[in-house]
């Protein structure tokens, strides 16, 4: 994959996800980072050929649910794979995430295997 965007307010979690991508042998040319949904939309505007987005839910400025909805509607990226990676693993939250337009959901804490399983279908 050429470009992947990680949206999470924790720099620690962004680094963990990047490490897990390497461990899972999911090859990405360029990993972009954003600390919240607003920054995520800005990255998508300046880099429209992002191939996949991984996003947290609970973030300041703009949460992950609103971010996914904005990507699907305002940026008209209906086919862009978006996976939510979040601590909030209730059935209700998973349903909300899928209803907002997310393609998948990974709960923190996670193992490299769970990340690989969620992302691998989108890697050629």
């Amino acid at each position: 994959m050429d470009k992947l965007l990680i949206v999470d307010d924790s720099a620690t979690m962004r680094k963990i996800i990047m490490r897990v991508l390497r461990q899972a042998n999911l090859k990405v040319e360029t990993v972009l980072e954003a600390a919240n949904g607003v920054e995520g939309l800005e990255k998508l505007t300046s880099d429209p050929d992002i191939g996949m987005i991984l996003t947290d839910v609970n973030m300041p400025e703009m949460n992950g649910i609103d971010f996914v909805k904005a990507v699907r509607t305002n940026h008209q990226k209906e086919a862009l794979p978006m996976i939510m990676i979040t601590t909030e693993g209730s059935d209700a939250m998973i349903q909300t995430a899928m209803d907002s337009g997310a393609n998948g959901f990974v709960t923190k804490p996670f193992t490299p295997d769970s990340i690989q399983e969620a992302l691998e279908p989108y890697f050629g």
Partner: protein, 179 residues
């Protein structure tokens, strides 16, 4: 305490002891999946900035708990989940999460962020297991070294752990009257 769910049926809010039991499970889950196992210890004395901990081998050790992270939850029950660490303990948590070597230098901002994310995962797990099944709860964002007691009335319970290097204490504070 009871709360009505969407069907109108009454759901009992979790007891303080259940919250602490689930907090214990959540801590073990986060540490075992993202870092390494932790050894449960007993809080012997707690002066907030300093604790005495009795470890599994019976030794009593004193640690200055210089770093504290909190996260607020609100719903049928309002409170705060807190983790406190010795400086060495906080560095240990950051090193484990970031998988850095012992000699690597981490900036305080990196340590604080790692501790906040550790707490975020612990509180998220607690919310999913103990709070979401009974009511609609919201979780705040982690805050480092912000006052705990201004938003809460009493401590419902606390836990202590010996890390590879240093100590960690975890607790839940609630608003209202002690149950």
């Amino acid at each position: 305490m009871a709360n009505a769910d969407a069907t109108g049926e009454t759901q009992d809010l979790p007891s303080e002891s259940h919250l602490i039991d689930v907090l214990k499970d959540s801590i073990q889950e986060v540490f075992s999946m993202m870092m390494s196992s932790v050894e449960e210890a007993t809080l012997h004395r707690d002066d907030r900035d300093s604790v005495q901990v009795r470890t599994a081998d019976g030794q009593v050790e004193t640690a200055d708990m210089g770093i504290e992270a909190k996260i607020v939850f609100e719903g049928g029950l309002n409170g705060v989940v807190v983790i406190r660490c010795s400086d060495q303990g906080a560095l240990n948590v950051a090193q484990m999460l970031l998988m850095t070597e012992g000699e690597d230098v981490l900036a305080q901002e990196e340590i604080d962020d790692a501790l906040g994310e550790c707490l975020n995962m612990i509180a998220g797990s607690l919310k999913t297991k103990a709070l979401d099944p009974v009511d609609d709860f919201q979780l705040g964002l982690p805050e480092i070294n912000a006052s705990v007691t201004e938003q809460s009335d009493y401590r419902a319970g606390s836990l202590a752990y010996r890390l590879t290097d240093g100590f960690l204490a975890a607790e839940i504070w609630l608003t209202g009257e002690a149950g």
